[in-house]
Each structure stands twice: as structure tokens, then as C-alpha cells.
């Protein structure tokens, strides 16, 4: 009989936020400009220099990310989405761990729920850039309500 030295993950917490409100002037996809990062020492999350909020996650670590993009809307009727993108401009599908938000609305007379938290649950095999973008409404993204909370798990 043999015994291994049992190993567990090193877990670190990271938070991304904005230092000021962000004006959103187009209903097309607009990158959320995260510019502030804080977290446990040694984490593998970074904001890409000059990337206007582009998030870089390190290879071979496990990431559980959730958060919200909160907008002071210009319209009382329009609503907005928050979706994940790769740096090549393609939207990341659900099947790759990118869970977008869904509007709270009524389609006809149906009574709809809402899903306003975005999630990204990934294990990149190479350092990978991720972008969170909002669309379908203009207004002001609020620094007080736009944040991502990241749990990072890595092997010792």
C-alpha cells in the first residue's frame, strides 16, 4: 500500500472595480472599463495595460468569477445586457463557461424573471484575455455597482 502526500488548491480572492463612473454612449457592445484590482498576494489576474478594462487570467488556474454591471440608464424602458468576449471580438459561448446576463422584461403579457449577474467559470490552458461588454442601452455604468469577484484556485 502506498500513500501520497495529499495536496489541495491554493485559493486566492481578487476583486475588480472601476474608480469612476463610465459613460456609455452607444447601444453597441461597450467594454466595461475596469481599472482597479485588489486581491490576495500572488494571484494571477491582471488588467491589460492600455486594454481599457481587458482582464487577463493566468494559464492552468481555475477561475470562478461572478459580478454585475450596473447602469444608470438613459431610458426608462430600454434594458441592457452584459456579455463576455474574447480579445478577437467573438462572444464567448455558454459552452465555454461564459454566462451572460439576461434582461428583466415582459415579453407580451408573460411574467419574466431576470438574470442580472454575469459569471465566467474557466480553466484557461494559456494566459487568456477576457472582456466584459454591455449593450442595448446608453447611460452611466456606476462604479458602486460594477464589480467582479474572482475566486482563483491553483496547484501548489
Amino acid at each position: 500500500m502506498s500513500f501520497k502526500n495529499e495536496k489541495s488548491y491554493v485559493t486566492r480572492f481578487v476583486e475588480l472595480s472601476m474608480s469612476s463612473n463610465q459613460s456609455v454612449t452607444s447601444t453597441s457592445a461597450t467594454l466595461v472599463n475596469f481599472d482597479t484590482i485588489r486581491g490576495d498576494s500572488g494571484h494571477g489576474v491582471s488588467l491589460v495595460s492600455g486594454g481599457n478594462g481587458t482582464i487577463r487570467l493566468s494559464a492552468n488556474k481555475y477561475y470562478y468569477i461572478f459580478g454585475s454591471a450596473t447602469m444608470d440608464k438613459d431610458s426608462t424602458s430600454d434594458q441592457y445586457n452584459a456579455r463576455w468576449y474574447y480579445s478577437n471580438g467573438s462572444q464567448i459561448p455558454h459552452a465555454e463557461g461564459a454566462f451572460r446576463t439576461y434582461k428583466s422584461y415582459q415579453s407580451g403579457s408573460n411574467r419574466w424573471a431576470q438574470s442580472l449577474h454575469c459569471q465566467l467559470i474557466v480553466n484557461p490552458t494559456a494566459d487568456t484575455d477576457y472582456l466584459l461588454k454591455v449593450d442595448d442601452e446608453t447611460g452611466s455604468l456606476l462604479k458602486d455597482g460594477t464589480m467582479l469577484f474572482i475566486t482563483e484556485m491553483s496547484r501548489q
Binding site: 495529499e6 489541495s8 488548491y9 455558454h94 459552452a95 465555454e96 411574467r111 419574466w112 424573471a113 449577474h117
Partner: protein, 141 residues
């Protein structure tokens, strides 16, 4: 006898149902068919090899004729309903039912994990959007 290192296990959980669907009834369990990381799905039941913390949310609707047929959602773990918050439809007003957008649960290893609708009535039709319910979480050692 062998022992596995926990670091040989993917600690992430991300589960959903990959198409729209509707169900009618009183006590209904949500359908799930896709697991991106850890977790085995059989008959809309998720099992995991380690204890875990779970987060769920649901997106869909009730028809207007079902107005007042309260729907919120919650986990059912090892046969027990969990009440750590309940999601609920935005179209419902009045009464004393409220809840956040998400619902939570905690499960031991190798137990049956389900998500269910909670309704007022025995014949409520619930329409669930593609990619929901979302069940996510992290395994613990």
C-alpha cells in the same frame, strides 16, 4: 487502495440545460443536461465527488394567465428542500413573497442535487429559457 490528490480534480462546477423547455405541474424539478467541469448528470440529478457550495439562478416566465401562481426556485439536496434564498419571477406582485435573484445550497459528496420550482397551485406552466437553470459552484476538500 489508492488515494487521489484533490488537485487532480477540477474544482469548478458549471451546469445548465441546453434548450428551452416548459413544464406543468405543482412540484416540478428543473431539467439539466450539460456539465462543463466537475459533476455527473443523470435523470436531471447532479452528483459530485466532493462537498461543494452551490449557486443557482433561473430565467424564464409564467404566462399572464398564471399571474399569482408564485414561482421561485431553490435546491433540493439529498431529498431535502433548501431555503437559502429563492429566486422569483419579476412579474409577481403582492403577498409576502420576495427573494433575491439567485438561490444557494451546500451539498455533501455523492448526494443527489436537484433544482426545483416552487409554485402556488397544482397546474402551473413554467417556461425556462435556454442555458437555465444555471448551477455553478466550487468543490471543497
Amino acid at each position: 487502495m489508492s488515494y487521489s490528490n484533490f488537485t487532480d480534480v477540477n474544482p469548478l462546477i458549471a451546469v445548465y440545460h441546453d434548450s428551452n423547455y416548459s413544464e406543468t405541474g405543482g412540484t416540478m424539478y428543473m431539467d439539466i443536461d450539460t456539465s462543463l467541469h466537475s459533476g455527473t448528470i443523470s435523470s436531471n440529478t447532479l452528483t459530485l465527488d466532493y462537498p461543494c457550495t452551490l449557486r443557482g439562478d433561473w430565467y424564464g416566465y409564467l404566462s399572464s394567465t398564471q399571474n399569482g401562481s408564485i414561482i421561485n426556485s431553490q435546491f433540493n439536496i439529498d431529498g431535502q428542500d433548501k431555503y437559502q434564498a429563492r429566486d422569483h419571477v419579476s412579474g409577481y406582485g403582492g403577498g409576502n413573497i420576495g427573494g433575491p435573484e439567485v438561490f444557494f445550497g451546500d451539498a455533501s459528496a455523492n448526494v443527489n442535487i436537484k433544482a426545483r420550482y416552487r409554485t402556488a397551485g397544482s397546474s402551473v406552466t413554467v417556461s425556462t429559457y435556454r442555458f437555465f437553470p444555471r448551477i455553478t459552484g466550487i468543490l471543497m476538500k
